[in-house]
Symmetry: C2
Subunit: 394 residues, 2 copies
């Protein structure tokens, strides 16, 4: 009798849940959260953001903003406990709180287990090895002293397991003389391999295990103009390379066994061999162009996965390029966008400013997407924008 009542009750709850408006939370309030919320306004969904900075790019675009530390157990747990679904826009979050929320029935996509694997470079690298995903040869070191056992392996890249980001926590060790640069915490010592090109694929999986994959994007390092990088998509790969890249991307998401959206960064060497560099368990800078250039953007796709809607169409409408607007060297303070009007005049160009008040060297302040059926037009405009638009102080 009691059991029957419970069964009826749980059916009722399921029914109510399927017809009510979903509550979706985001840990982190940066530009990725901002663009996710722009896309969320196409759905009937109530949005929540947790972030330590009330002036962050995403704060004003959600229904409910909570000021708090995404690395703090209580802050994350209390934020998530009344939500239907929860995602992240940065890996540095409290995974234990997410695991508890998952246990209590909140959809946490990517899963806490996947975040745990990826946010630690040692575990991430071990995951590739265990799943036979091609990656550069490596050793795991617990202490700096262990690196000296691998002199023959140098030159190598030493990567901190946890705590590294934006170039911090990564150190090239070329030879024995540079051993003193090694990190004295659990780290990956990875063979330094010559890279011919660098590509990225956005891959997604829903709760039923269905996967989608976007056309690859290629990072372009322009040696003629001596410019910073920009990105082209779809990358022009040989068919076999494309297949291999897609197979790797699918293997990662299947191996992580987690719904969500993932960016897979791959290296290609001079012989055309492909291996994985790293994975991000979230929407990613390398997928910004999908807002205008693909039928379903990476943001739209992640929302579909979170809301358990059908997956979207990853096809490109037109080829595209992304130019990142990063804070210029030597400029720290209130931002001014030099050359913005000139770029806004371009015919097939989409400017995204993230609304950050302060610029500093290297800070991601915005991006510009160019779409065109003509790859020459893409590279020409990307170069022009790189030369024109600057985030500086005045």
């Amino acid at each position: 009798m009691g059991a029957m009542q419970n069964e009826n009750l749980s059916k009722t709850l399921i029914f109510v849940k399927s017809s009510k408006i979903m509550k979706v939370g985001i840990l982190g309030g940066g530009q990725l959260g901002r663009m996710l919320l722009q896309a969320a306004a196409n759905f009937d969904v109530t949005t929540y953001v947790l972030e330590n900075d009330a002036q962050c790019p995403a704060a004003h675009l959600c229904h409910h903003f909570t000021l708090g530390n995404i690395q703090d157990y209580d802050a994350v747990y209390n934020f998530g406990k009344n939500l239907d679904a929860l995602t992240i826009e940065i890996e540095a979050v409290n995974v234990e709180a997410l695991a508890q929320l998952e246990k209590e029935g909140v959809r946490v996509y990517p899963t806490p287990s996947a975040i745990r694997t990826i946010k630690n470079k040692v575990l991430q690298k071990q995951f590739y090895k265990d799943n036979e995903i091609p990656t550069a040869p490596f050793f795991i070191t617990q202490h700096a002293s262990e690196v000296s056992a691998h002199i023959d392996f140098l030159p190598a890249v030493h990567k901190m397991g946890e705590g590294g980001y934006d170039g911090k926590g990564v150190q090239i060790i070329n030879n024995e003389k540079e051993l003193e640069l090694a990190f004295n915490v659990p780290s990956v010592l990875e063979k330094k391999v010559k890279i011919a090109s660098e590509i990225a694929l956005i891959v997604g999986m829903n709760a039923s295990g269905e996967t989608i994959i976007y056309p690859p994007a290629e990072m372009i390092f322009d040696t003629v103009y001596n410019l910073l990088d920009y990105q082209l998509s779809p990358a022009k790969l040989e068919e076999k390379q494309l297949w291999k890249a897609q197979a790797i991307a699918r293997k990662v998401v299947k191996g992580l066994n987690s719904p969500g959206l993932f960016a897979i960064e791959l290296f290609i060497d001079g012989q055309g061999e492909i291996w994985i560099n790293e994975t991000a368990p979230r929407v990613h800078n390398s997928g910004h162009h999908t807002i205008e250039a693909n039928y379903s953007s990476q943001y739209d796709m992640l929302l579909r996965i979170l809301l358990d809607y059908p997956m979207g169409n990853t096809d490109a409408i037109l080829p595209s390029a992304i130019v990142n607007i990063v804070g210029s060297e030597g400029h720290t303070g209130a931002v001014y966008y030099e050359g913005l009007e000139e770029v806004l005049k371009m015919d097939n160009v989409f400017v995204h400013i993230y609304g950050k008040k302060q610029t500093k060297p290297g800070r991601k302040m915005g991006h510009v997407t160019i779409i065109s059926k003509d790859y020459q037009d893409l590279t020409h405009k990307a170069n022009k924008i790189k030369h024109t638009l600057k985030a500086i102080t005045k």
Copy 2:
């Protein structure tokens, strides 16, 4: 000496103004405001919304929401007095407060004068006549009794000068027997003319008087399937018709002499003659497709005008169709979107749900944009979506 100081001071103020973050306000918080704010998140701008309903579609997407009546002088004046620029998403606003704000230096686009002309159908019609813009023959009536002086003019459409919207305030008077239906307030009595097709053009003007114009969109009334309307763009017009339509649209915005964005609804008769039906001084339902189908959307364009940035590119990336999701007959209450998942599965389709909690017959709940180089694909999918997606109660 004092004068010199003032001059220096005013130069300093101008400099500060040009480098600070602009404050842009919107009167009204419906779906047009919602989509304008989605686009505003691509710019470095602080956003404000005034609306009487804290649950309105745009409330959660602005930086600062103010609960208040957009028809109330004090509410509008106090809302606008600290803003740099102000626009509307509905005509029924307090124009006197806007006029005062304009006088005090706030950019009010469209101008209060343009809103005043357009929101009153008598003044709007007189404006067309004064500016030699082709429009259906009409009389202006102050009282219901005056209609009887125009028996020979029937059948005609009687339109209230002020207060009409969504079909209210519009009455067809076919013959003498129906004279009792006439409005007893200042109204337009307009000749009922046979319409072959109905098109709309979005036109914009910036503060320097530069104009842009989007490709025309055509309303399709499908008699085979007996369906409600949907919209195709670019409309397939003869070149001469296109020129005339564009000339009319430009004449309206030049005649109103107002920066801003305007939707011009035009009728075409069996002889190919074109005349104006009405103007909306704002972003408009007939321009929703520009979000995905054009380089600069109507929302992006209005923001450029408000921020005094260069105008955008109105070209279509691909042809497109819009299907409106309106509340089904016989359904009033908490909304449920029947068929949503089926539509989300379609390859080249973009769903926009406005987030309104309650549906009622005819209420605009969302829209779907289809893009395709193939017009047959557009009409086929538009019909399918019309049959599939319904805003109902469960």
